[in-house]
Symmetry: C2
């Protein structure tokens, strides 16, 4: 059923989507402030159940792309979010029925809300990653081998590029990444238009609702002075992997990504151990005392041990008390085809995926 996103859902959406960002996707905070402002002036946004889409409804798949650290300086706003959608409509000569995000993790959870604020279009309660991933070919529509073009990349200035055709999803990713870097490492996109039928079949459904529910639970636990990390693990059927403090962070902003590693020294039951995580925008592989402990597509999340808020790869810093948790991935990511797109080898690690979750353990569901 279609429903309004309530004003009091916005803060939980920020908390929940930041956890699902697995370190990447950019902090949702400034997008959240933008939407809070819109609600404060009487606006509101409709959330559309994907089941309500007609098979031939056309949906705009939106994102902000680039280096998350830049998003903190050039804050998202409705006009920038809607710009590539309007360019795509002019290019197609068709109007969109609704908007959705390419990824529910991080600030892009709010991208269709910002576009909705500028257009009145409803937001489809779904995404194409169930989390955040750094590259275009990591979306479920790529795993399903759907067409990847046309794809609009818009600059905050008067510069706009349409990738009219691309030979492969990887070719699309490479060229749009170069364009984005030239645009200052921040751009908004309107990706290949999707039909209602494609979304119902290939998107990860109800992820906006899921992020809101997860955020609500964290905030409830915090207000009740309960263990917020335990609350997230319980609500999202996850596992606590490590508790410690940050003792090292190495980052480099390169080729349009934030790459690096971070290392934690164990505390409490993990005292004497270390945990290291490598990232490309998002956390990809974790090692406990030098042995692989967890890899993508399991969701690797680093939370503030007290507040339960997620910590992004760009905001990790020495001395933070952190908890590493894993959440189960959407089933599509664990198929052979899914692993080609988002498994450890897709990130350059010669490691076979072995989930920290047994086969019969449930998917992320709050």
């Amino acid at each position: 059923m279609s429903r309004h996103i309530a004003g009091h859902d916005l803060e939980p959406l920020a908390t929940g989507s930041w956890i699902l960002g697995t370190g990447g996707g950019g902090s949702p905070y400034s997008s959240y402030l933008g939407m809070k402002n819109f609600y404060g002036s009487g606006g509101s946004v409709d959330l559309l159940d994907p089941a309500e889409l007609a098979d031939d409804d056309l949906v705009a798949v939106l994102s902000t792309m680039g280096a998350p650290v830049v998003f903190q300086e050039r804050m998202p706003d409705p006009a920038f979010a809607i710009k590539p959608l309007r360019i795509m409509e002019a290019y197609l000569g068709k109007r969109f029925r609704a908007v959705m995000t390419v990824e529910i993790g991080g600030c892009n959870a709010f991208q269709p809300l910002l576009a909705a604020a500028a257009s009145g279009l409803p937001v489809v309660d779904a995404d194409a990653m169930g989390r955040a991933f750094p590259e275009a070919q990591m979306q479920t529509f790529a795993i399903a081998d759907l067409t990847m073009y046309p794809h609009v990349v818009a600059d905050i200035r008067d510069n706009d590029v349409i990738v009219a055709r691309a030979a492969t999803w990887h070719a699309l990713e490479r060229v749009r990444r170069k364009v984005c870097t030239e645009f200052g490492s921040v751009a908004t996109t309107c990706q290949a238009p999707r039909t209602g039928a494609e979304i119902k079949r290939h998107a990860i459904l109800h992820t906006t609702s899921r992020a809101i529910a997860l955020g609500r639970e964290v905030r409830r636990a915090r207000a009740a002075h309960e263990d917020t990390v335990a609350a997230t693990v319980r609500a999202a059927h996850g596992k606590l992997l490590f508790r410690g403090k940050v003792i090292d962070v190495q980052r480099r902003t390169t080729e349009g990504f934030l790459r690096g590693t971070t290392r934690f020294a164990g505390l409490d039951g993990d005292a004497g151990s270390t945990f290291e995580i490598a990232f490309q925008n998002e956390f990809s592989v974790g090692w406990r005392d030098g042995t692989v402990a967890v890899t993508t597509p399991d969701l690797i999340c680093v939370l503030d041990s007290v507040s339960g808020e997620a910590i992004g790869t760009e905001s990790l810093r020495y001395g933070q008390r952190v908890s590493v948790i894993a959440l189960p991935s959407p089933a599509i990511h664990r198929t052979a085809k899914g692993l080609e797109h988002v498994g450890p080898r897709a990130f350059g690690y010669d490691i076979s995926f072995k989930s920290v979750f047994a086969e019969d353990e449930v998917e992320l569901e709050v």
Copy 2:
């Protein structure tokens, strides 16, 4: 008057356009072979006098862009030349009346002929540089502040980008250069569509005819065992600046360009002197014994002292006997606005332009 380009005009066009390339634009040789092949199988191409264009006729401005050294490996052909034109027609929802080149210097002299071979469209006898220059904002349409978008960049594979809008000509150049580099440093373009009125007012007219006539004169002198360099200087109202041999070449392929310097030791009357030239695809500034002797927009051409054929920045090599000549630039390049776009400062040299030609000396005309 519209006329056929004769088969026996193709080789002179290659010779003349390579001289007007001022070291850049890429050798026309393989494009010439492609057209020779087309003519050999009974094809021919019409050359249209710009005066015959109606004011609202739409003309496709075409080019191959990238690193000339790559063009030698991935040879130009009609299908690749016409590809961005067809994408532009689909984007605009309009058909073109004719084709023209963005630059008469180097292989792009043949680009509209290749497109004509694939489409039957006539080639407008004009270009937007009167020579070759490395960047988009160096064309006369940029000097005239005409709109720079849409601009199509096509890959030889199934990758195509439309720059739908650009804030400035420089912004267009930067983003299309990144795309071209990602495409393997070779791409074909269909630049912002131009009307007949714009061409008649702002293009450099009759430059295809001029290149053919120049090439004919070089070849006539060669057959008659005359001094080919002197023949070019006389025919094009140029000046001989230096005769010598190549003693040094430094090249780096960087940011989508071929940059570097070359140094010549004097022979004959120039014995004891040296001449150094800096280039960015094309020759930009020349120094005789450490003192500035010639700068863009004067055309700086390096010719084989015997054959009179031009030598490109990518084909300079130790020991070649060379003659450096200057040819007068089109008048538009010597205006204050023109110098902003193509003067020495536009190439990063803190030098004021002083032509080697007196004010009353004529423009390049054969």
